[in-house]
Amino acid sequence: MSRPELPIELAWGLLAAMSLLWIWLGRFWGRRARELDGFMVAGRNVGMALGAATAVATWITSNTTMLAPQLTLEFGVWGMLAYSTASLGLVAFAPLAARIRRLMPHGHTAAEFIHRRYGRACWVVFMAISLLYALAWLVSMGMAGGLLLETLSGIPYVQGMTLILGVCAVYTLVGGLYAVIGTDFIQSLVVLVGIVVVVVAVTQQVPIAEVHESVAAKRPALLQVFFPAALIAVFNNLLFGMGEVFHSNVWWSRALAMRPGVGGRAFALAGAIWLPVPIIAGFLGLAAVALGLPISRPDMVGPQVASAVLGSVGAVLVFLVVFASIASSIDSLLAATSDLVTKELVHRFWRRDADDAQLRKIAARSVVGAALLAWLLCLPKLGTLASVLFLAGPLVASTIWPIIAGLYWPRATASTALVAMIAGSSVGLWVYFGVGWFAASLASAVVSALVTAFGLSRSRRHAPFDFSTLASAEQHAT
């Protein structure tokens, strides 16, 4: 691959400028994060624009910008279309977000809902899934940050990874969810504008009709309507994405942080904004074919096209987009993981009598702890750690139906939810190792759905759950 023309000095300068900007913005937006609710749920007063922007920014990871062109190059038009269906996770979560905000006006985490709705046993399984998934996502983002900065500019892996984790930890520590949501707004603008500028510049050089003609001549299979290898995984990936959004505290904390009446519309809008992003970014994969670029590494095809068309300006744009997209995910994960550790582990078991001021301090320390743990796991640069995120697919897919049933069906029982999550995860993992990743999340979701549906059909004899009990703040008696 022809190396993107980004000198290391310029890369360090850009990193320094952006890092200072994020930290300053984090301090600015986070000045109201002195109280626990300010730190963990941004005062529960996030409006439509910031709410939609934070959902978009968090869901745009380095994968969205870097993997979409690769998937398009591998699976053709279906690659970009299949990736864009991940937006349906946000859209489908919209009504749930509204319901969560209404049911739990004083809530803090997804696990708190599971504990109060389904009890301790479900909570244990759910926490194991949540923490494994959050850590895997955090580590994969930290590693992606180090690797991409190294590839794009030559900044050594450890230095790039340390800087990106460190900067995100600093502004999350200073400003909590206020800082995360505020910086997400700017980061989403950087990412969206960057991608659009690159793609518009590419289409100026190779019009879409020419790209189509070239791909049809050189790699016609990429335009096939029936592309078996791509179609076989479409719904598996869709359900994986839904599981990610439905269970993760990253999204629940946002739902709880939004003003009443905002969450549903904000998530639906975020899904609509996110939908075309993989299609636009994926177009770069097809443009690479039309431009006749020698593709040495498929994961770097996006930067390669940007550099080929825009020279060093393209390399700078890609660098900014990558840094912003990774930071917007890492900060959200640090905040959400800190919430889980503070409220679900420390407050529930260790410091039951802690007041809000003490919990605020514990939450800040948890951000540092999560960042340090992620840094340690990123340090050895183990490629296999990234695959843990894919392994989490069947686990998170098993939570979809128990969560929906728990939010809307008063007679959904704890035993149904527990069996659904355990059976779904077990079958999904068995399929993952026995058949392949492309069917694991689907198998898990199917089993979990069948168990939940069976449980709901036999739930008439159970006493209904009183949803109004969720409205009060959770008490941890000493």
Binding site: M1, S2, L73, E74, F75, G76, A92, P95, L96, R99, V215, K218, R219, P220, A221, L222, P228, A229, A230, L231, I232, A233, V234, F235, N236, L238, L239, M242, V289, P294, I295, S296, R297, P298, V301, I400, W401, I404, A405, L407, Y408, W409, F438, A439, L442, A445, V446, A449, A453
Partner: protein, 147 residues
């Protein structure tokens, strides 16, 4: 003999051809081919032909250490490569076989049908849940109003 001798003399001057490392089979028609034993920054040429044809279908001309090919139809192919250094092009490597075999249609349709059913059922559960909850809340509200 003369021909072989000339070839031997040329081979002594030019770099040996790279060895190719790649999966023998691909389901998606895409694969990463690694060049082994050649300088990474050197210019490499990779040629892909359908087994039944003499015409090159795809050609990679760029630096190492790998080349990415995609968009291959189902079928059997052969790959060969050479590397360029200051003395010129190396010989072509020995042909290396590749098979593109897509998942069966039955498996794809089964995935699509089961996947679509699960996804639609999930959406249905949400929609039904929202409507059920709304009508219950409205019922409670009208009950309160009547009281």
């Amino acid at each position: 003999m003369l021909v072989v001798g000339a070839g031997t003399a040329r081979a002594a001057l030019a770099a040996p051809p790279p060895e190719l490392e790649h999966p023998e089979q691909s389901a998606s028609g895409a694969l990463l081919v690694r060049f082994v034993g050649s300088p990474v920054q050197a210019r490499h040429e990779l040629e892909l032909r359908a087994e039944s044809s003499d015409t090159a279908l795809q050609r990679y001309d760029g630096p190492g250490p790998s080349a990415y090919l995609s968009g291959l139809e189902v079928g059997a192919y052969s790959l060969r490569a050479r590397v360029h250094d200051e003395t010129g092009w190396s010989e072509w490597s020995a042909p290396s076989a590749l098979r593109v075999e897509a998942p069966s249609h039955a498996r794809v349709w089964a995935s699509l049908v089961v996947g679509a059913s699960t996804f639609l059922a999930t959406l249905g559960l949400i929609v039904f849940g929202v409507r059920r909850t709304r009508s219950r809340e409205l019922g409670l509200q009208s009950g309160d109003d009547a009281a």
